[in-house]
């Protein structure tokens, strides 16, 4: 038996990775913004951010994608399938990352802010040189495990026609009538993609930890 008919599915890997990266990037930026709003001290801003986080998470990803791609696409805004998927998955990612960021901010001792202030560091430097590096170390494991989940969620983008792994598997299955092998291969690819990322994250986490070991 030749397995050559599965080759097109491999071509979907690049799209899966690109979409995951794009959704993660959208999520990081919007998530940082939402987190900033929640901890800003303004009651209205904080409530607005909390509400957005709830809404982003309460609607299934496929509904977000359809709402953006078919809904907004029907006259409001012309948007490509890839961009729609990146935006839709990005919104959900933003909500989840905002909570991860907020948890990390709480975990950083208030003395760190005070010390930076006492040293006379300007506001920007206090944040970028003192707080953010510590947040990065605390949040890295959570961000990576979220990203691994996100890779699997990008399969949903196949429903709006992004040519990623699940889309290719579906095509191959329809063309060859070998659904069993096609979808099993696609499933193994998702597992195969997450393993090296998990390993790399563990290694980076150990290195970051060893820097601050007490």
């Amino acid at each position: 038996m030749t397995a050559g008919f599965l080759a097109p599915i491999l071509g979907g890997v690049i799209w899966t990775l690109a979409l995951s990266a794009a959704a993660l990037a959208v999520g990081m930026v919007l998530g940082a913004l939402l987190c900033a709003m929640r901890v800003s001290g303004g009651a209205v801003l904080a409530a607005l951010a909390a509400m957005l986080i709830l809404i982003f998470r309460a609607v299934p990803p496929i509904v977000w994608l359809f709402l953006i791609y078919f809904g907004l696409g029907a006259g409001w805004l012309q948007i490509g399938a890839f961009e729609a998927a990146a935006l839709g998955l990005g919104l959900i990612t933003a909500a989840n990352l905002a909570e991860i960021f907020r948890g990390a901010l709480k975990a950083i001792h208030v003395g760190q802010w005070e010390a930076a202030q006492t040293l006379g560091l300007p506001q920007v430097s206090r944040l970028c040189d003192v707080i953010v590096p510590q947040m990065l170390r605390i949040t890295l494991p959570s961000i990576v495990s979220y990203a691994i989940g996100l890779i699997k969620d990008t399969a949903i983008a196949s429903t709006i026609g992004v040519p990623e792994i699940a889309f290719q598997a579906s095509n191959v299955s329809q063309a060859t009538f070998r659904g069993l092998e096609s979808f099993a291969f696609a499933g193994l690819l998702y597992i195969g993609l997450s393993i090296p990322i998990a390993m790399a994250s563990r290694r980076i986490d150990l290195r970051l930890r060893s820097k601050v070991a007490r």
Binding site: L54, I55, R57, A58, V59, P60, P61, I62, V63, W64, F66, L67, F70, G71, L72, G73, A74, G75, W76, K152, D153, A155, I156, S158, T159, I165, A166, A169, S170, S173, F177, R178, G179, L180, E181, S182, F183, A184, A186, G187, L188, Y190, I191, S194
Partner: protein
């Protein structure tokens, strides 16, 4: 504006029928999947390699492969292996597999949170391993998992929208169907989103409260 409300009013009954089916699929998958998750949590810790390895494979595939791919594997793939399931049965099978895989980890963590002195004390009292599990470990370990399991259940309700790809006439399929007849996708998917949110937002708030209450005295 009244046009929109009229349209919503017309499509709502059909969407609600779909939503009922979504809730049924989710409920059935959880009712079958969570006990299976408990079994997997126990077999994963078993001393026998013949129990441990198959369980590990089940869990790793259930967690590692995307739910959408699992669903398509069951519905479009298994028929070529001689097993043809209806879209309802495929959806329940795939979601049940996924539920079992994820909840096995949740339940394992819960059971491990029971101090090992508890099972040692059970041994000293002369209980056999099954009795220790039944009377000592499970009553203390399972309540710990409840908030996490509820949170997972909300995610499964959302995941049930994926059954749309195997032509199960649940909420998402109904919305898509009406949409392709009327071309009014925006108001339809907006209403679909509102329906999901109407269940998921209160549920999330309740689970959050429960979580805080249970962790208060820790």
């Amino acid at each position: 504006m009244t046009g929109l409300l009229d349209f919503w009013n017309q499509s709502l009954p059909q969407l609600l029928t779909g939503f009922t089916l979504s809730l049924q699929v989710t409920g059935l998958s959880l009712a079958l999947g969570i006990p299976l998750g408990l079994v997997l949590a126990l077999t994963l810790q078993s001393a026998s390699r013949w129990l441990r390895w198959p369980s590990l494979v089940m869990v790793e595939i259930g967690r590692g492969a995307s739910i959408l791919v699992l669903l398509q594997f069951v519905y479009f793939g298994l028929p070529s292996a001689g097993l043809t399931l209806s879209s309802f049965a495929s959806a329940v099978a795939a979601f049940c597999w996924c539920t079992a895989a994820y909840t096995s980890e949740i339940i394992r963590a819960g059971l491990q949170s029971v101090h090992h002195g508890q099972s040692e004390a059970g041994e000293v009292l002369g209980l056999d391993p099954a009795e220790i599990l039944r009377f000592v470990i499970l009553p203390q370990g399972l309540p710990v998992c409840v908030p996490t399991l509820l949170g997972f259940s909300i995610l499964m309700l959302q995941a049930s929208s994926l059954a749309f790809v195997v032509a199960l006439p649940e909420l998402m399929s109904k919305a898509q169907l009406i949409g392709s007849n009327t071309f009014r996708y925006m108001p339809l998917f907006a209403l679909t989103a509102i329906l999901y949110a109407a269940v998921c937002i209160p549920a999330t708030i309740v689970v959050g409260r429960l979580e805080r209450r249970l962790s208060r005295h820790i």
